[in-house]
Symmetry: C2
Subunit: 242 residues, 2 copies
Amino acid sequence: MATGRNHRPATRSRGIPEATVARLPLYLRALTALSERSVPTVSSEELAVAAGVNSAKLRKDFSYLGSYGTRGVGYDVEYLVYQISRELGLTQDWPVVIVGIGNLGAALANYGGFASRGFRVAALIDADPEMAGKPVAGIPVQHADQLEKIISDNGVSIGVISTPAGAAQQVCERLIAAGVTSILNFAPTVLSVPDGVDVRKVDLSIELQILAFHEQRKAGEEAEAAAGRKGPDGDMPAVMPA
Amino acid sequence: MATGRNHRPATRSRGIPEATVARLPLYLRALTALSERSVPTVSSEELAVAAGVNSAKLRKDFSYLGSYGTRGVGYDVEYLVYQISRELGLTQDWPVVIVGIGNLGAALANYGGFASRGFRVAALIDADPEMAGKPVAGIPVQHADQLEKIISDNGVSIGVISTPAGAAQQVCERLIAAGVTSILNFAPTVLSVPDGVDVRKVDLSIELQILAFHEQRKAGEEAEAAAGRKGPDGDMPAVMPA
DNA sequence: CCGTCTTTGTGCACGCGTTCACAAAGACAT
DNA sequence: ATGTCTTTGTGAACGCGTGCACAAAGACGG
Ligand SMILES: NC(=O)c1ccc[n+]([C@@H]2O[C@H](COP(=O)([O-])OP(=O)(O)OC[C@H]3O[C@@H](n4cnc5c(N)ncnc54)[C@H](O)[C@@H]3O)[C@@H](O)[C@H]2O)c1
Ligand SMILES: NC(=O)c1ccc[n+]([C@@H]2O[C@H](COP(=O)([O-])OP(=O)(O)OC[C@H]3O[C@@H](n4cnc5c(N)ncnc54)[C@H](O)[C@@H]3O)[C@@H](O)[C@H]2O)c1
């Protein structure tokens, strides 16, 4: 068990690289699993395997948070869970609204992993008058007219957009005008937002297209290898379209 | 109108940077919108704005595909749509299976944008015997027992996993054993796969945590600015947890 | 108290991605 | 044909992220 604990409290707290921030949730998930199994400490190597990253990268990532490890032993699981949670801002409660309660919005509303990390669905909002009042995942859907009031009454700063693409920019602008400063966008559109507002997007279609690219490349290489060709240009010639 | 068209057919076809590949679908979406409005040509600057990227980056990205632009004019929209589609492998049909038809899986099955780009939902698969035969989005759900047969009968190489996290690794292994070489994973787990298999993940929870981090940072900076502090360390002291 | 052995924290080098800035290409008018 | 004007394609510089490799820290046994 680790005894020495004169850890310095994270200098450089304002300089965590974006790539590191994006991995912290991954580490947190792996650590939470260890915590539930009552594992007291974990080495960078073990944790790296669990999170699917390089162990040197993991150690460097943690070094941005401060020196929380013990040489020869590893990292205290509970302590690290706490530190990462605090760094990510998960020790506080984040009310979120979901706008556009269709197929996807309803699935998101029903998603359990939402609430598990300090995120609380404060409201579900849809423009369809038919939906108003109907409960989805135990929460009554409210009409889009109420958007501004809901945001300000609940102090919402994070909004999720799952409306059709055509409505997304407009919804985005209303959210921002009402005080939202972080947006998670599921609609396949580029949202333009003022400085100071963060947007992250999730786009199924893009992910599939990236997979298709690699899939095609694999098939091409395979065919090339099978034919035992010499020339590196295995492409079909680029014929002009009609 | 562009007349000269002695475009060389993409040398370097085996060297497209990953970052570029990830942006091609974005360009394609913007170009498709232009195409629908019958816009004949577009400059790198205009297209860059539509896609939300830097115009120099866009030109460099396109340069990896070949010289498809015309100086002084821009790019031919239709031609570029075709070239990017071809490069991404969207000129062929990609049958995909979705495994785990719960809230999310059903939403994915209902998603129209799926089919729009050459992706065809070949089958919906779930382990729950209750669901077998029930149609979701017009496609009858099949039992997980049939997984291997479905994959091989349809020549499926892309699989989507939307099962609970606990089942994901096992489903992943079965998919791969049956011949799938690209996986889109919605379950919050790290999937371990052999070389040659591509995995992309979509994780709502991670995206929200990243947003929360920046949100907290904004709030901290604001408070600091308001208090007019000197010291750069605006953090609460790192107190040891109980 | 000292030696050994494990594991962290990080200096360093390298490669990828981004962006600037500009020469050259080519359309278009005269 | 020649000049002008727009826009591409890319060389070059820079910064960020990654991973190696190792010195130092510290636990633990004797
Ligand atoms: N379903 C999926 O799996 C999936 C996957 C990826 C992306 N998407 C994207 O997510 C979005 C939603 O998809 P979906 O399948 O749930 O569509 P959907 O049509 O089922 O739902 C859209 C909902 O948004 C509501 N809406 C429309 N305009 C609105 C506005 N101005 N304000 C508030 N609500 C409004 C509609 O009433 C409807 O309930 C789309 O942009 C889609 O492209 C969906
Ligand atoms: N719902 C969301 O918005 C959302 C968002 C992000 C991530 N996720 C993740 O996506 C996954 C699915 O979420 P959900 O809300 O649809 O859950 P869900 O419980 O509604 O659906 C899971 C489905 O998977 C099926 N299943 C279980 N084991 C299986 C197996 N071995 N083979 C085939 N099918 C199996 C179940 O029968 C069920 O129908 C979860 O891992 C969840 O964490 C969901």
